[in-house]
Amino acid sequence: MCLAIPGKIIEIDKNKEHAIVDYGDGTKRKVNVTLVDVKIGNYVLVHAGFAIEVLNEKDALETLSLFREMLSMEDE
């Protein structure tokens, strides 16, 4: 139920309530964007027809650096 899928905003309607999200697998859907501040080109997480968060690259890199740190660590 709490599944949320990332996609890219490719179009925002005039009243800024809805946007078209491209999921990158050929599907595009209209989603409600009133819970986030978005621009065209942003990646968002979509749940039950709503964008619930904007994803950004800096934060994604943080996860990767956590991994690097762990893998480089000596076993205890």
Partner: protein, 359 residues
């Protein structure tokens, strides 16, 4: 750059965890986590490393109570158009599910999100449309957002929204299962941020990691939990920083606050859990199906509802059992003929176990 499904890295992480030489039990509260754990066989690999992982009350459809389902059935039978998510429609009430009564001609609609239900109301002014609003903090802001936009007066909701942190507290307070750490749900946390979990680490000395949904997210999070334990720490860490910010989604939290207030609520398998549910604030009461249709629901008011006979969902949701411990699993109870909600929902532990054990 590596992928969050990289098998080589997964192996390295698992071997690191194994060398830490532990014997621990963790709980997560999210069907998507369970799906990842079982689908990729991580649950078995981790068991080999001395780590047992159990799904707690982490499936909004599963924790919905028999009463709530009966309320929806009653509203449909009294001529309302009822709408909710596909999984919810198949959960059996005392004798029937919403899906069953649809075949009898009652107006039951399967929808993808609340906006679809509002659309039905707008297009059918002669119908009273009731949306069964289930879901944790991930879903609640979608309901709030719609109610803030003045939906039509023939639209209302049966509010079944629940909130995660106090359910975790309830599990720890009951003490039926000894937990060494909690794997916190990523998308609930996307909305609420990291703060609402902090009291748990402080009061119960339990480490927590907010976790994403890829195999490596889960392995990483488990490693982080084990590390905290080894170092004698208990705090909230955020593994899923790419989607969870410290303060969560402020806009979404404000919408929830404006529309809902916290109430004590019963969860399937539990008694009433203090401050673990939401109800509409007075300002929004015209959208509250329980108030709007008080007369239609009156005969349910003092009735007691029981969970399906022989079903172990209650124990599963409290983290006491595994699906295969239920004598009905795979026999009387299968996804095509579910006895309890944990076999209906694709996020339910019985459904997940059944799906992947057949492959």
């Amino acid at each position: 750059m590596f992928s969050l499904r990289d098998k080589q890295i997964a192996k390295q992480v698992i071997s690191k965890i194994k060398k830490m030489n532990v014997n621990l039990k963790f709980m997560h509260v999210c069907g998507t986590h369970q799906d990842t754990l079982v689908k990729h066989g991580l649950d078995a690999l981790l068991k080999d490393c001395g780590i047992e992982i159990i799904q707690g009350p982490g499936c909004p459809v599963c924790v919905t109570t028999p009463r709530e389902i009966e309320e929806m059935l009653m509203l449909a039978k009294k001529g309302k158009t009822v709408a909710t998510f596909g999984d919810m429609i198949r959960v059996p009430g005392e004798t029937q599910s919403l899906q069953n009564i649809r075949t009898e001609g009652y107006d039951v609609r399967t929808i993808y999100g609340i906006e679809d239900a509002v659309k039905i109301a707008k297009e059918n002014k002669d119908k009273d449309v009731v949306f069964m609003a289930v879901g944790f903090e991930t879903t609640t802001p979608t309901t709030a957002s719609v109610l803030l936009k003045n939906p039509p007066s023939n639209f209302s909701i049966l509010c079944c929204h629940r909130t995660v942190p106090n359910a975790l507290k309830a599990i720890l307070d009951m003490g039926e299962v000894k937990l060494n750490g909690l794997i916190e749900p990523g998308h609930v946390s996307t909305i609420i941020g990291t703060k609402p979990y902090e009291f748990i680490s402080k009061d119960y000395d339990v480490p927590q990691v907010i976790t994403g949904f890829e195999p490596l997210d889960l392995l990483m999070s488990i490693w982080m939990l084990v590390k905290q334990i080894k170092q004698g720490n208990a705090h909230v860490q955020n593994e899923y920083a790419r989607a969870v910010h410290k303060n969560g989604n402020t806009k979404a939290k404000e919408a929830i606050d404006e529309v809902f207030e916290s109430v004590d609520m019963k969860w399937r398998g539990f008694s009433v859990i203090p401050q673990s549910g939401l109800m509409l604030r007075e300002k929004f009461e015209k959208y509250d199906a329980r108030k709007k249709y008080e007369n239609e629901l009156a005969e349910l008011k003092d009735k007691e509802f029981v969970e399906p006979k022989g079903c172990k969902c209650g124990e599963l949701l409290r983290g006491l059992l595994y699906p295969k411990d239920c004598p009905l699993f795979g026999k009387q109870c299968k996804p095509g003929s579910p006895v309890g909600p944990c076999m209906v929902s694709i996020e339910g532990s019985c459904n997940i176990e059944y799906r992947y054990s057949k492959k």
